[in-house]
């Protein structure tokens, strides 16, 4: 632990967290450049860099219009999922908690499915998904808060809400016109294909607006691992603090799901990978954000290349990685 002073302000950082974050950042930049190079046509790294930095090259359309928006979006999506997962896992005190476990993804999915199958305009879908995710989260927090938002209660309430919402989504999809059901199904599997600057702008604005709150959250998480009596003894109001941290987490998760659909497991995996690398008792927010970004950039790249010319949605790739990872967590916990 090292304290950094800025005037009267001071911030605590872990040296290991800084080192790990720096390494992940370098890996992220390299992967990002690779994602701009690879595919059909292949663009040499030199050409990519020249195009990105504003020089005119024959590959401007491929690099600037097709690949760059997707890579930047992947970075933003991963960062939002990483931070959301870190917050929700810390509040739930459970490494298996994430937005798709506690019902936020399912709420967004149900709302988007209703919008898609009822013939609503395309612009309505993202706001509807955001609203659905937030409503689901409100239901979970409401159900979970009856006994001071105890960690286990919060997770159980989330699992129950998630199952109910998934069942409702199935009903809506099955009773809809087949073509609408198909569109809803495609939305439900998160993908970055065909998405770009608009979605990125929403996510970056959300992150920027939440920045002061995230700075507070990074500090408030210090006491999230303590029991309520100990935390109260230290002058903390644990229930209010948990509710605040969870609210920031679900807002981010609902926002990102509304923009790109359910890119499953990133919010689950990224914070835990970050926590293990940093060797801390809880996932550090910035490291979790960078890890999430790296995961989504890699997943989107893999989805583009693995079965080219067929493109797999990033959500399919992350789910394929997430499943075995979940098993790995379960097996390791027992030993």
């Amino acid at each position: 632990m090292t304290a950094i002073g800025v005037g009267r302000a001071s911030f605590v950082v872990r040296r290991r967290a800084v080192a790990v974050s720096a390494v992940i950042l370098v890996a992220l930049v390299i992967t990002g450049v690779l994602a701009l190079c690879l595919g059909k046509p292949y663009v040499a790294p030199g050409e990519v860099l020249r195009s990105v930095f504003g020089e005119s090259t024959p590959y401007d359309v491929v690099v600037q219009r097709l690949r760059l928006p997707r890579v930047v979006l992947a970075v933003a999506v991963g960062a939002c999922f990483g931070v959301a997962g870190a917050l929700i896992q810390s509040v739930a005190r459970n490494a298996l908690a994430s937005p798709d476990v506690v019902g936020i993804t399912q709420g967004a999915g149900l709302a988007a499915t209703i919008a898609l199958t009822s013939g609503a305009a395309a612009v309505v879908i993202a706001p509807a998904a955001l609203g659905g995710g937030l409503l689901a989260a409100a239901a979970v927090l409401g159900l979970g808060s009856r006994h001071g938002l105890a960690a286990q209660r919060f997770v159980l309430a989330g699992v129950a809400v998630a199952i109910a919402l998934r069942a409702l989504t199935e009903i809506v999809m099955l009773t809809a016109e087949p073509i609408d059901g198909q569109r809803a199904h495609i939305w439900l599997v998160g993908t970055l294909a065909g998405r770009g600057w608009t979605e990125t702008t929403w996510l970056v604005v959300t992150l920027l607006v939440l920045l002061p709150v995230l700075a507070w959250a990074g500090w408030a998480l210090h006491t999230s691992a303590l029991d309520d009596d100990t935390a109260k003894g230290l002058g903390v109001r644990p229930v209010a603090r948990r509710a605040g941290l969870a609210a920031v987490g679900v807002l981010l998760a609902a926002m990102v799901t509304a923009q790109v659909g359910a890119v499953d497991f990133v919010a689950l995996v990224a914070p835990q990978v970050a926590r293990r690398l940093v060797r801390a008792e809880r996932p550090p927010l910035i490291t979790a954000a960078l890890t999430g970004s790296l995961l989504v950039v890699l997943a989107d790249l893999a989805g583009r290349l693995l079965f080219a010319p067929t493109q797999l949605p990033a959500g399919v790739i992350t789910a394929a990685i997430g499943g075995p990872y979940l098993l790995f967590l379960l097996v390791r916990r027992k030993s």
Binding site: A220, H222, T230, G233, G235
Partner: protein
């Protein structure tokens, strides 16, 4: 720092644990609360520590009602060690003791030089300085309890409340913790603890509070109040009270 309970009524659900309780605890002294299981001693301590809401009456800290003071301000005046607190996974000793500085910090002032000094002092006083880099979940029960006490010491409060700090410790470690409480008292702090063992309470306490069924049966210096009659009243046990051969404090021997 004087802690007073006035006309205090506290309960869980419809049941009252105690009603209209009045109690005044001396400043800069070691007060020990004893009584049989379920007599309300832990509830009383938790109420004094502001962990439980009061139904009626008030707890005064040097005359100010702690339930109307801001939470952080209470935490700068009064430290609490709950019974068997949860150890965060993988946290180191220095890190955990550092959390005691929480009421003195804010998100934009997370650490000052004074915080570092307070943490080092607290670890020194509690005898855990050489464990600073060790993970708390790998320590023995006695070491762990001293780490928790160090955390409340780092809080630098004048008053300190501890709920059964010696439970689950072997005898040598119990004595270690009790000696530590006494040293804290010697530093001028007001220390209040709930203890299970009446003989330890009688030996270490400056002021003893004996409770039964939510009522204070007797309160005062152990040498004045610990008698065979009191023990029969409070614990329902026939006994002989003799002077302790080492300290002269009253020693309760079951008959």
């Amino acid at each position: 720092m004087k802690l007073t309970a006035q006309d205090l009524t506290v309960g869980y659900g419809p049941r009252s644990v105690f009603s209209n309780l009045d109690l005044s605890l001396p400043s800069s002294a070691l007060t020990v609360i004893v009584g049989p299981n379920a007599c309300g001693k832990s509830t009383l301590l938790r109420t004094l520590a502001r962990l439980l809401p009061v139904r009626h009456g008030s707890v005064l800290l040097d005359g100010a009602d702690i339930h109307s003071l801001p939470t952080r301000e209470v935490a700068r005046l009064l430290g609490v060690l709950p019974q068997s607190p949860l150890v965060p996974e993988g946290v180191t000793v220095a890190d955990l003791v550092g959390r005691g500085r929480q009421p003195h910090q804010s998100w934009w002032q997370q650490w000052s030089e004074h915080d570092g000094v307070a943490v080092r002092e607290a670890m020194g006083q509690a005898g855990v300085a050489d464990l600073a880099r060790r993970p708390v979940d790998q320590l023995s029960g006695g070491q762990r309890q001293r780490v928790w006490i160090a955390m409340t010491l780092a809080q630098q409060t004048e008053a300190l409340l501890l709920d059964e700090p010696t439970t689950f410790l072997d005898l040598a470690h119990q004595v270690e913790v009790l000696d530590l409480l006494r040293r804290m008292r010697d530093d001028g702090r007001t220390v209040i603890a709930v203890l299970h063992d009446l003989n330890q309470a009688a030996r270490y306490a400056d002021h003893l509070v004996a409770m039964r069924d939510g009522k204070v049966v007797a309160a005062g210096p152990p040498r004045e109040i610990v008698t065979a009659d009191l023990v029969r009243d409070v614990f329902g046990l026939d006994c002989v009270v003799v002077p302790c051969p080492v300290t002269g404090a009253p020693l309760v021997v079951p008959a």
